[in-house]
């Protein structure tokens, strides 16, 4: 009956800053709608600069933030109606987060396998013992690790790339249908980044998981996503097929973003630098204090 895994209907989020007399409303997300189909897993990239509202939108999808107006439906259930620990657990079964800095998402004092075992116990009910360890090992195998490799180690003993894989394995233990990843590779070293990015593709193709990939990096978004949504100051300015949008942007802001991507193949560096220098010397209007 539900053709939509996720249905975001015109959600807005307003934050109020300041005291009683100097109140200021900040519209972080302004009437954003998006849909993910239930039967066709896909990777949707939400792109924006800092302050575009992309993280606030992701937090609303994760039910960590309640919208000021609008509704979010997951499998037809309004997120606002979820209450109680059983409801929350059922929600977490469907949607799992992955955050930017894996070192901040793990407690530095706990061994990493403890997290995985606890997560598994929580989602699988009481069945403990060897089946739990097997399930954890299976999840780690999906991300290219094994329980033997991580067992007994604390977060600081793993590299950022390995730890981010562990974070993904932890999310997989819940057997979710949707993963919301907020800048999952921006803290990861270049030589490890692509293997994480490729992993998302594997999750989509082999496990049928939809992924919302929140990022400011147009190049990786182009590389992995099927659909793309560009946000500016809380509103969606352009969305559509990733290749169409980035190859032929319609909105000036998308064009501006794409032009600002520094290509790793500038052949004539000095010629390029001279042209940007002309822009500097030209008497543009100096920026004033806001």
């Amino acid at each position: 009956m539900n053709d939509l895994l996720l249905d975001v209907r015109e959600v807005s989020k307003t934050f109020v800053r300041g005291r009683l007399l100097s109140r200021e409303k900040i519209v972080a997300v302004n009437k954003v709608s998006l849909q993910l189909a239930a039967r066709r897993p896909e990777i949707l990239a939400i792109i924006g600069e800092s302050g575009s509202g992309k993280t606030t939108l992701a937090r609303m999808i994760l039910n960590m933030e309640t919208p000021t107006s609008g509704r979010l439906l997951l499998d037809g259930t309004d997120l606002a109606t979820i209450n109680g620990s059983a409801g929350r657990l059922a929600f977490m079964h469907r949607v799992q987060p992955i955050f930017q800095n894996p070192f901040e998402s793990f407690n530095p004092l706990k061994r990493v396998e403890r997290y995985l075992l606890m997560t598994r116990l929580r989602f699988a009910g009481t069945a403990g013992g060897s089946t739990t360890a097997e399930a954890v090992d299976a999840a780690l195998h999906k991300v290219g690790l094994s329980l033997r490799e991580v067992s007994g180690r604390h977060p600081h003993e793993l590299s950022g790339g390995q730890l981010q894989r562990v974070a993904i394995a932890r999310a997989l233990l819940a057997e979710p249908k949707l993963i919301v990843a907020d800048e999952p590779v921006s803290m990861i070293d270049a030589s490890l980044r692509m293997s994480i990015v490729n992993l998302f593709r594997t999750l989509r193709d082999e496990l049928g998981i939809s992924i919302i990939y929140v990022t400011h990096d147009l190049a990786t978004a182009y590389y992995i996503s099927d659909r793309i949504m560009i946000m500016q100051k809380g509103s969606v300015v352009e969305s559509g097929d990733a290749r169409d949008v980035l190859k032929a942007p319609r909105h000036p802001y998308t064009y501006q973003l794409r032009e600002a991507v520094l290509l790793p193949e500038v052949a004539n560096v000095s010629a390029n630098a001279t042209s940007s220098m002309n822009g500097l010397i030209s008497p543009g209007t100096p920026e004033r204090r806001a």
């Binding site: 600069e49 800092s50 590299s159 950022g160 790339g161 390995q162 070293d189 270049a190 030589s191 490890l192 980044r193 692509m194 293997s195 994480i196 990015v197 490729n198 400011h216 147009l218 190049a219 990786t220 182009y222 590389y223 290749r243 980035l246 190859k247 501006q256 973003l257 794409r258 600002a260 991507v261 520094l262 290509l263 790793p264 193949e265 500038v266 052949a267 004539n268 560096v269 000095s270 390029n272 630098a273 001279t274 940007s276 220098m277 822009g279 500097l280 010397i281 543009g284 209007t285 100096p286 920026e287 004033r288 204090r289 806001a290």
Partner: protein, 343 residues
């Protein structure tokens, strides 16, 4: 005037601005008699020429931060300079800032050597207005009347397209991009010969980043300064640097003109680094490297890249490859490229 100073590949007879020779900087700790050493920078040599932007690329824990700390003379225990020297043109004979007398270093800072850091908030005093920071840092070096100095500051701010009104602002009142431009103005107002830029645009949004990079390039051209530009972002390096060195696990593995590194990388690590970058409009699959960067407390023997290297042979685990000129101006440390000649 611009063209005369900005010749990145100009006269090689001119004394280079900075010569780093076989630098070794280790973190040494001793707990209950157990000594541990982390060889963060292990035998690094390079030269920064006058008027060039020299890029340094490397991932986290490759030792690039330790390297610039050593060059800037910010050496505090447990960091120790174990061997090698850093010879500045404006500080001859000392072999590094850490060996020069304190009073001399005070005079050199800002005047000859300045910094642009990643977190501009850490450079600007949060309880002082921007104008006061200019007076604190730059006025002692420039001197003259206060009025003249202020005029000079206003003129310099115009170069980074900032209105004089920012001088009366506190750092938190400015946007990230404006703040980073204010630090850029602060770092360059004394027209220093050498600027260390440590991930100066990493915290900025892409559109602002491109603008700030253009300003760094513009000011560098105008003053003829040399810049040591450190970032992990290869796109930024392609955009701004003249020459580029790649660092891996505490050692340099490759160095060449930036266009040469991107067009014709020789070291297997550099090759992967460049080929794995996704580009808009290209759909070919990209692969990352297997394995993980080594732990510098216990680095692999021989070439530190050999456990992850697709071209590794038997010699790579036994001997340390040295940086050798594979072609003109292109140095690389790899047995697969240079062959195993006994030297």
């Amino acid at each position: 005037m611009l063209a005369s100073v900005a010749q990145p590949h100009g006269d090689q007879d001119v004394q280079p601005l900075l010569v780093v020779r076989d630098l070794q900087a280790y973190y040494r700790t001793s707990h209950a008699g157990v000594r541990r050493g982390i060889r963060a920078v292990d035998g690094v040599s390079f030269t920064v020429r006058r008027g060039e932007i020299y890029g340094l690329a490397g991932e986290s824990s490759s030792g690039k931060t330790t390297l610039i700390k050593s060059i800037a003379g910010a050496i505090k225990p447990p960091l120790e300079i174990v061997g090698g020297s850093m010879e500045f043109a404006f500080l001859p004979g000392y072999g590094g800032l850490h060996r020069a007398p304190r009073a001399m270093v005070e005079r050199i800072r800002w005047r000859h050597l300045s910094y642009i850091m990643q977190g501009s908030m850490n450079v600007l005093n949060p309880v002082r207005r921007i104008g006061s920071s200019f007076i604190d840092f730059a006025y002692p070096h420039i001197g003259g009347s206060r009025k003249q100095f202020e005029q000079q500051v206003v003129a310099h701010l115009a170069r980074v397209r900032l209105d004089p009104s920012v001088l009366s602002a506190f750092p938190h009142e400015l946007s990230g991009g404006m703040r980073q431009r204010a630090t850029l103005a602060l770092a360059t107002i004394c027209r220093p010969g050498f600027i260390i830029a440590d991930e100066p645009t990493t915290a900025l949004d892409v559109v602002v980043q491109k603008e700030v990079l253009g300003m760094i390039r513009g000011i560098q051209r105008e003053t003829g300064s040399s810049v040591l530009f450190v970032t992990h972002d290869m796109g930024v390096h392609a955009h701004i640097t003249d020459r580029l060195a790649i660092m891996y696990a505490g050692r340099l593995v490759e160095e060449a003109a930036t266009a040469e590194i991107f067009g014709n990388p020789l070291h297997p690590y550099t090759k992967n680094l460049i080929s794995s970058l996704p580009r808009i409009g290209e759909d070919a699959p990209r692969t990352g490297l297997g394995g993980a960067p080594p732990n510098l407390a216990d680095p692999p023997s021989g070439c530190r890249f050999h456990p992850r290297c697709p071209l590794a042979s038997e010699i790579c685990s036994r001997k340390v490859p040295v940086m050798r000129e594979a072609r003109s101006g292109h140095r690389v440390a790899c047995f697969a490229v240079n062959g195993d000649d006994p030297a």
